[in-house]
Structure formats: C-alpha cells, structure tokens
Symmetry: C2
Subunit: 103 residues, 2 copies
C-alpha cells in the first residue's frame, strides 16, 4: 500500500504520462488543457487566451515553450510548474496562518 | 472540490506543516522520521543509520543540513526532495515502459 507521499508522486507521474501519451512530452496545447483541467482555481480569475502564458511568466518557470525547448515540456519542467504553484500556495498559507494567530 | 493535482499539492503542504509544526521548518530528525514513514519503499533496501543521508547525497539534493542551512529544511527544500525522488521514479518508469514495448 502506498503512503500519502508516494500516492502524490504516482498521481503526478500518471497525470503527466496520461496527457503526454506515447510521445513522452507535453506540447504547449497539452499543457494548456492539463492546466485548465487540473488547476482551475488558479485560472478562474484570469481572462484572455494568454492566461497560462502569463502565469508561467509570473512564476518565473523558465518555460519559454516556443523558443527554448522546441515547444516540448518534459516531466522535469512539468514538475517545476507544480513546484512553482505549490510553493506560491504555501507562501499564502503561511501568511494566512500567521495572520490568524495574531487575531 | 479539488482536482487530482490540487489534491497532491494540498497533501504535500499538509505533510510538511504537520511535521514542521509551529517552528515552520523541518529539522534533520523531522525529515528522517517523515522520510522513513512516507518513503518506505525507497529505504527498505538501505541499511545503517546513514541511509537517509546517503539517499540525499545520491540525489544531489544539495541538502547539507548541518552546514549549509543550519539544519533547517524549509518547504522549498522539502519539495526538492520530493522532486528528486519523483523524477528518479519517472526515469525508471520510462525505461520500464520502453522495455515492455520492445518485448
């Protein structure tokens, strides 16, 4: 039986390979579909077709898909996206908890 | 309702803060306990008290806890540990799938 952390690792791998398929990497379109489906909370307040690009740029993910990586997102880059979003969430969480304690 | 990816992010944050408590970081001992509990599959073939140190060193995680970071592991470093383990697992998974296809 998998531990909670092992389960999260398995989920991330499955999520990537389910979307990447046999080609083994995500295209920009794959990433957009996956992001819209899996991170709706981060996108719901964004408007316009460049929302995903803007979020990536804001997070400094170094994912210049069209120029630097031939439009291919490998597992490492996909994990970097998740890392950026989770670290940002964690920073907000810490600020919120600190604020709650002071109340 | 959270998506699968949002759920994995929440799990990682909860796991870290549950172990870190009010101090907001993991000590080396916290990390050892968490690793032994959450990544038993990675440790079961390791022997001796330096197993966790050895895995960290092998994964090039830059986690020289005693010298570089005053023995404190923040959320970012914790995420790096998970990233290292997951990326390694993914590499084995890709090799396995490629081998299976050739059979």
């Amino acid at each position: 039986m998998l531990s909670q952390m092992e389960h999260t690792m398995e989920t991330m791998m499955c999520m990537f390979h389910k979307c990447a398929g046999d080609k083994g990497y995500l295209t920009k379109e794959d990433l957009r579909v996956l992001t819209e489906k899996q991170f709706p909370g981060f996108l719901e307040n964004q408007k316009g077709p460049l929302a995903v690009d803007k979020i990536m740029k804001d997070l400094n993910l170094d994912l210049d898909l069209d120029q630097c990586r031939d439009g291919k997102v490998d597992f490492h880059s996909f994990f970097s996206l998740t890392a950026g979003l989770t670290t940002t969430c964690n920073e907000y969480f810490v600020v919120y908890v600190t604020w709650k304690r002071k109340k």
